[in-house]
C-alpha cells in the first residue's frame, strides 16, 4: 500500500508566533514540474501591519543588545540551519528544479553568509565609526546605529540565498525586519522561520510574510513606521511607485547587487555623532 503524502498548509511568522493570515487566505504553489506541493498563507495588509508592530515592539531589545551578543545569536542561526540542511535541499530542489548539488551549494552559501555577518556585528562600528578632529576642547565621535524597522523584499531566486543575503545584514546592524518572501518559492523562507524560532532570535525581530509581493509592496512602502526598504526582490515595474510612496516618511530604499558586503549593513544604519567636553 502506498502512503498518502501529508501536504502542508503553512503559516506566517509574526512576533515569534506562527499565525494563519488574518484574512484566512492561502495560495497554491507548484514544484518545477507544475505539480501542487503546498498551501502557504497569503498575507494581507493587516498581517503586514501586525508584523510591523511586532518588529517595532522588539526593536529596543534587539538594538539594545550588545553587538557581541547579536553576533552570537546570528552564529546560532547558522548552526541550526546546518542541522536542517537536508530539508532545505529538498525544498530548493523541488521548487527551483535544480540538481541536488546546486541546491547544496546554495544552502552552504546561505549558512556561510550568516557566519560572515555574525562576525561583522561587533566590528562594524569600529570600522565605520570614527573619532573626529574638531577645533575645540571636545571629543567628537561618530558611530553607526541601527535604523529601526526594515522591510525586506528578498530576491525571488535563488530563494534561500537571496533571503539570507538580504536579512542577515539588516539584523547585524541591530534592526528588526519584516520580510516578504519570494512569491513563487516561499518554502525555504518558511523553514528559515522555523530555524529562527528555535535559535535565540527574540520573537518579533524577524517577521516573515508569504503572499503576493505586488499586493503587499504599496502598503509596506507607505507604512509610516517602516524606516527602510530592501527592494532587491521587487520587479522593476513596481519600483518607481514604491520609491514614490516611501518618500512620505523619507524611507531609505535600496536595491543591492548580489553578494555580501559590509555596505549592506551600513545601508540600514544611521550615524550618530556625540560631542563630549575634554576633561570631564
Amino acid at each position: 500500500m502506498t502512503r498518502i503524502d501529508v501536504k502542508k498548509t503553512y503559516k506566517l511568522y509574526i512576533g515569534g508566533a506562527f499565525p494563519r493570515s488574518e484574512s484566512g487566505r492561502t495560495y497554491e504553489i507548484n514544484d518545477s514540474n507544475g505539480e501542487f506541493i503546498a498551501n502557504p498563507a497569503q498575507a494581507s495588509r493587516k498581517d503586514l501591519r501586525d508584523a510591523v508592530l511586532a518588529a517595532r515592539t522588539s526593536l529596543p531589545g534587539w538594538s539594545g543588545a550588545t553587538a557581541f551578543n547579536r553576533g552570537q545569536i546570528l552564529y546560532r542561526v547558522a548552526e541550526m540551519m546546518e542541522s536542517r540542511s537536508g530539508q532545505f535541499i529538498d525544498e530548493i530542489c523541488a521548487l527551483e528544479g535544480v540538481t541536488k548539488t546546486v541546491a547544496k551549494k546554495q544552502i552552504e552559501e546561505s549558512i556561510d553568509t550568516w557566519v560572515w555577518y555574525s562576525g561583522w556585528c561587533d566590528k562594524i562600528s569600529a570600522i565605520a565609526g570614527s573619532t573626529n578632529p574638531v577645533s575645540g576642547p571636545f571629543y567628537n565621535f561618530t558611530t553607526p546605529e541601527s535604523m529601526g524597522v526594515i522591510g525586506v523584499f528578498a530576491a525571488q531566486k535563488p530563494s534561500l540565498l537571496g533571503l539570507v543575503q538580504a536579512l542577515a545584514p539588516v539584523l547585524a546592524g541591530g534592526n528588526t525586519a519584516v520580510v516578504v518572501t519570494s512569491q513563487k518559492f516561499p518554502l525555504p523562507a518558511i523553514s528559515l522561520s522555523e530555524v529562527l524560532a528555535t535559535s535565540d532570535v527574540p520573537g518579533g525581530v524577524v517577521n516573515i510574510l508569504t503572499g503576493k509581493t505586488n499586493e503587499l509592496a504599496p502598503w509596506m512602502a507607505s507604512h509610516m513606521d517602516v524606516d527602510g526598504l530592501d527592494i532587491s526582490g521587487l520587479s522593476k515595474d513596481v519600483e518607481t511607485q514604491t520609491r514614490i510612496e516611501g518618500t512620505e516618511n523619507l524611507k531609505r530604499i535600496h536595491r543591492f547587487p548580489d553578494g555580501n558586503s559590509p555596505q549592506r549593513i551600513l545601508a540600514f544604519m544611521e550615524d550618530k555623532t556625540v560631542w563630549h567636553p575634554v576633561g570631564i
Binding site: R49, V52, R56, W219, S222, H223, M224, D225, V226
Partner: protein, 334 residues
C-alpha cells in the same frame, strides 16, 4: 419594551411600584438590601461570555468606523494615575484632551480628564486657560485604588477633590466588605459620598470587577451602586488585571438597562483598564449599542477610562484619512 426579558418584567412589576411609592429602593437596612438583591436574576456566565465574544466579531468598516473612532475619542476619560505624575504631565494630557491631534482640528475633544485629587486644581486651571472649559475633571477618590481607609479620610478625600474643582468623582467600593457580605457598609458609603457630591459632581462608582470574582457579584454590585445613587458604574481602577473584559461590561450594561426599565433612570457605564486599541474600543461600542441601546452611545452615559487608547484611535483616524498605516512617531508621547 420587547427587549426586556419576561423575568425582568416580573421584577419590574414589583419594583416600579416600590420605586414610585417612596422613590427609594432600599432603606439602608441589611434586610432591605438583601431582599432587594435577592430579586435579581442570576447571570448565566457561559451565556454572557458567548454573547460578548459573538458581538466582538462584528466588522465595523469605512464610514461606520470613522464615526465609531470619533465617538470613542469623545468618550475617553483621559487618565493619568501614576505615583510619578507631575504638574507638567497633567498639563500635557490636558493639552491632548483639548486638541488630541494638533495637526487636525476636526478631531473632537475627549470626554474628561481623570487624575488623583491633588492634581485636580492643576488640571482645571490649565484646561480653562487653553479653551477646555467644557471638559470636566474627574478625580479618583475614597482611598483609591484599594478603598481601605476610614470614613473620615474618604470624606476629606472627596471634599478635597470637589473644592479643587472636580465635577466628577470616581469612588472605589470597599471590596472586602462586599465580598464578606457587609453590603450595608458598601451601600451606606456610596450614599454618603453621593450626598457630599450633591449637585456639584457626578458620582462614578468603581466596582473593581477583577476582585469580585463572579459575574453574579458584578451584577449585584452594579445594582447596589445604582440603588445607592451612582450616576455611573465603572468597572475597574486600572490597577489590577483582569479589568474591563467584554463579559463584565456586558453584565454591567444589562444591569443599567434593567435598572432603566425598573426606574426610568439612565445610569452610565465606564469600562476602564485594558482597553488599549481601536478594535477593543469599537467592541465596547458594539456592546453598548446591542445591550443598553443607542441612547447610551453618548459621553453622558458611556465613558472609556484609558490613556494609551487615544494614540491608537488617532493613528487609525489618520490611516482612514491618509490611506496608509501610521506609526507612533506621529502622535504625541504620553
Amino acid at each position: 419594551m420587547e427587549w426586556v426579558s419576561d423575568e425582568v418584567k416580573v421584577i419590574l412589576f414589583f419594583k416600579v411600584s416600590i420605586y414610585t411609592l417612596d422613590m427609594q429602593l432600599i432603606d439602608g437596612s441589611p434586610q432591605s438590601i438583601k431582599s432587594y438583591l435577592a430579586t435579581l436574576s442570576p447571570v448565566d456566565q457561559v451565556g454572557a461570555e458567548a454573547r460578548a465574544s459573538m458581538l466582538a466579531t462584528r466588522s465595523i468598516k469605512t464610514t461606520s468606523k470613522a464615526w465609531a473612532i470619533d465617538c470613542a475619542i469623545s468618550m475617553i476619560d483621559l487618565t493619568t494615575l501614576e505615583g510619578s505624575d507631575t504638574d507638567g504631565k497633567v498639563k500635557a494630557i490636558c493639552n491632548k484632551a483639548v486638541r488630541p491631534d494638533p495637526t487636525d482640528p476636526t478631531v473632537p475633544h475627549v470626554g474628561a480628564i481623570c487624575v488623583y485629587n491633588d492634581m485636580v486644581e492643576v488640571a482645571r486651571k490649565h484646561l480653562d486657560s487653553i479653551g477646555g472649559k467644557d471638559i470636566p475633571v474627574a478625580a479618583v477618590s475614597t482611598g483609591f485604588p484599594s478603598g481601605r481607609a476610614s470614613r473620615e479620610v474618604k470624606k476629606q478625600d472627596t471634599l478635597d477633590a470637589l473644592n479643587a474643582g472636580a465635577t466628577e468623582i470616581d469612588m472605589v467600593i470597599d471590596r472586602g466588605a462586599f465580598l464578606s457580605g457587609n453590603l450595608e457598609k458598601v451601600f451606606s458609603e456610596i450614599v454618603y459620598i453621593k450626598e457630599l457630591c450633591g449637585d456639584r459632581a457626578h458620582l462614578k462608582v468603581i466596582l473593581e470587577t477583577g476582585e469580585l470574582v463572579t459575574l453574579d457579584n458584578v451584577r449585584k454590585a452594579s445594582f447596589l451602586a445604582m440603588a445607592a445613587g451612582a450616576d455611573f458604574i465603572k468597572t475597574s481602577t486600572g490597577k489590577i488585571s483582569p479589568a474591563a473584559t467584554p463579559p463584565v461590561v456586558l453584565v454591567m450594561l444589562e444591569a443599567v438597562r434593567d435598572f432603566y426599565a425598573m426606574t426610568g433612570v439612565r445610569i452610565g457605564v465606564k469600562p476602564a483598564g485594558g482597553i488599549r486599541n481601536t478594535k477593543d474600543a469599537i467592541k465596547q461600542l458594539v456592546l453598548v449599542n446591542e445591550t443598553a441601546g443607542p441612547e447610551w452611545l453618548t459621553p453622558k452615559l458611556f465613558r472609556i477610562g484609558a490613556s494609551a487608547l487615544l494614540n491608537d484611535l488617532l493613528m487609525q483616524r489618520m490611516k482612514l484619512r491618509d490611506g496608509h498605516y501610521q506609526g507612533p512617531n506621529y502622535v504625541t508621547l504620553d
